[in-house]
Symmetry: C2
Subunit: 411 residues, 2 copies
């Protein structure tokens, strides 16, 4: 890139941009290259290419995914055009080793449908104008045997074995199929085909992202993509990473009330991580709030309300966020519910008496039946008289049994 005179004003904008771009990431390899592209964007409006790959088999996104999506949105502000890459090539061939029962081949229609589902969700965060939804079958499906040999010629066995899981499995004599060596190469080839300037991924993707960088050199693309890894967001429990299977997640399409309530249920310490990774507050604003909480000028609950409003309004809108706040305050008004009541997680369809027993509000399910019949139970401020009540919807429920026994149930 040719040297250019940069005015102090532009330099300041670039510095701010780089600070937001850097925010929260685990690693950022080749940051200088991105800084030069952001500078170019501010001086002559030229955009650059930002890639992130998504699994076409799992189109249900949650706040964990929004860490990456928000970072992509940040790049859009500073000149990035997003290649939202759906890895349909391997998905439509399934698991060629036939070993994984769960990795069934998707039909073309299923991939299309999942792509639509993705769009509904990601355009809550990304600007559709600067987002290309791409499918790698378009170029990977066209490679012939000679192309494939060329691709495999650019990487050594030893380098591939450096990937943590390969090293581990090779040492443990746990079989690695050669086809598994092909996937990082194909993913890397995507960067060649898309002519990427930067690729983003979860922290566990670092190795694969670097393969793309190396392959761009091998294919003499005239650039080597920068690589940014983002942390995996902890779920509502504050311990495990957010995931659907652990039921500690907030879905991007959850309704506003659920979303608001779930954010308020997280631990105070987790709140700052959510602020950093998935809120629209600037680093300065977050730092200032944090000081206020530490000095006692701001109650942590208030800060969490700000977070909840921010998250709900970005995924729905500000009106919906305020309505959710009002709803929450009505249902869980302070005068009725103690500040810290124990939280329990149950599966969808859980029977109320079992839940009361396991959350230790009652010594037995038969006692629970009697209490319910006697009118002692309310759920989210509504009296429940049906002793066969089951939790048929996901969400957060405040259970009150008698006058003083409370539990927070998350389904």
């Amino acid at each position: 890139m040719e040297k250019q005179e940069i005015s102090p004003q532009v330099q300041e904008l670039v510095n701010e941009a780089m600070s937001e771009i850097n925010r929260g990431c685990v690693e950022f390899i080749g940051a200088e290259y991105i800084q030069s592209l952001v500078t170019r964007f501010y001086t002559n409006g030229k955009t650059f290419i930002v890639k992130a790959g998504f699994d076409p088999t799992a189109p249900d996104l949650h706040l964990g995914h929004s860490v990456l999506l928000r970072k992509l949105a940040t790049f859009q502000k500073y000149g990035g055009v997003i290649k939202f890459l759906i890895g349909d090539f391997t998905a439509t061939i399934g698991d060629p080793s036939g070993k994984s029962q769960t990795r069934k081949a998707l039909t073309f229609e299923e991939v299309e449908k999942n792509a639509e589902t993705y769009k509904e969700q990601v355009f809550k965060i990304l600007d559709p104008k600067n987002t290309d939804i791409c499918f790698n079958k378009e170029w990977l499906g066209k490679l012939n045997s000679v192309d494939m040999l060329r691709l495999t010629s650019f990487y050594s066995v030893a380098r591939m074995m450096e990937r943590d899981d390969f090293t581990k499995r090779f040492k443990e004599n746990s079989p690695i199929s050669i086809v598994e060596f092909m996937y990082p190469l194909l993913q890397g080839y995507d960067s060649v085909a898309l002519n990427c300037d930067i690729e983003l991924g979860g922290n566990d993707q670092k190795f694969n992202l670097l393969v793309g960088r190396a392959l761009q050199r091998s294919y003499e693309c005239g650039k080597e993509q920068s690589v940014m890894t983002m942390p995996l967001l902890e779920g509502l429990d504050g311990v495990n990473k957010m995931s659907k299977s652990l039921n500690n997640y907030i879905g991007l399409t959850d309704n506003a009330n659920d979303m608001y309530g779930k954010v308020l249920s997280i631990d105070d310490s987790l709140m700052w991580r959510y602020f950093e990774l998935i809120s629209s507050k600037s680093l300065k604003e977050i730092e200032s709030m944090r000081r206020d909480v530490e000095s006692g000028a701001l109650h942590p609950k208030k800060a969490k309300e700000i977070l909840a409003l921010d998250i709900v309004s970005s995924l729905h809108d500000l009106n919906a966020a305020h309505a959710a706040q009002e709803h929450f305050n009505n249902v869980f008004s302070k005068k009725e519910i103690p500040n810290d009541i124990p939280t329990f997680h149950f599966e969808l369809g859980e029977w109320i008496c079992k839940a009361l027993l396991e959350s230790k509000l009652t010594p037995s399910t038969s006692q629970a039946r009697r209490d319910i019949k006697a009118g002692a139970l309310s759920i989210n401020n509504e009296k429940i008289l049906d002793e066969n009540y089951k939790f048929s919807q996901k969400g957060e429920y405040i259970i009150k049994l008698g006058k003083r026994k409370f539990a927070r149930i998350i389904i």
Copy 2:
């Protein structure tokens, strides 16, 4: 294969065939399967498929290659149809890693030309009627990326690493490109495409041949090829394997006189190995000769003459073989040349005075010049007066300087 009644006559033929098939091989995996196919051939004439792969870049064959070719010819006698496979696929793409300067991509015309050269040579040994010359580009060139992934899914990294050279290089941190894992798989796929019943190769090819066997199982071909490995033939020096670069070889297209003389030059102990691996004598005949030599009933030189006649007549014809014998006896008649004279190897174009010096027949090249001018030198019984004489043809030369100084020179 259905059970069949086998007459004692057929059983005897099959036993003889299997004995000839087994002859000289290093390993024969799946011999029972071949026995059943030979039995079928004797009972209903049904043929089977025998594969051997050849390098399209090196079409100059020598007696070392004839070990394999003669074995293929043996299979032809017992029902085998030979797939003489020229690996043009990788040859026409060259070395995709670009690392090997020597592995330049061949053009289509070069491959065609080399194939013609192969035909001229191999049909001296093989029956053209039961030989298909095949090119693997025909099917490997048609594989697409999905096919290639499927192929790589059938083999594990650990199994591939068991190949001796891979194990060694991985331990030594000497790089192995992933494309090198592809070659055994592609070679194995050739067996799938050709529906082979047996594949033959050099002893160093065992691993690759077994990949073909494994892939036929993976692709559910309904058969698993047997695998036969043949030893590498020692060259004329009796130590190193026969090779063009070591200049210890007899080319399949050498003229009859050279061929005959070279065979007579080998060591007595090496003679029996040549008898077993590259003569048309039966094992019984060889055993009987060997006993005669050991008992003194047959002079080893006589046995070697039988070998030389056999080899020359199989690559030329019987008349040519006898003519070569006569020529040899005229040139190297016993009364003139001592029984054991020292042998020296020189490069083509070597100057006679240098050769005389290095073979210790003269103390200096100036003395050699004087002796030659004086008429003291004869080469193969012809007086040579040219002190600038150079060895301009490959072959064996008997040098006589004065009355008693002899040397055998091999160019």
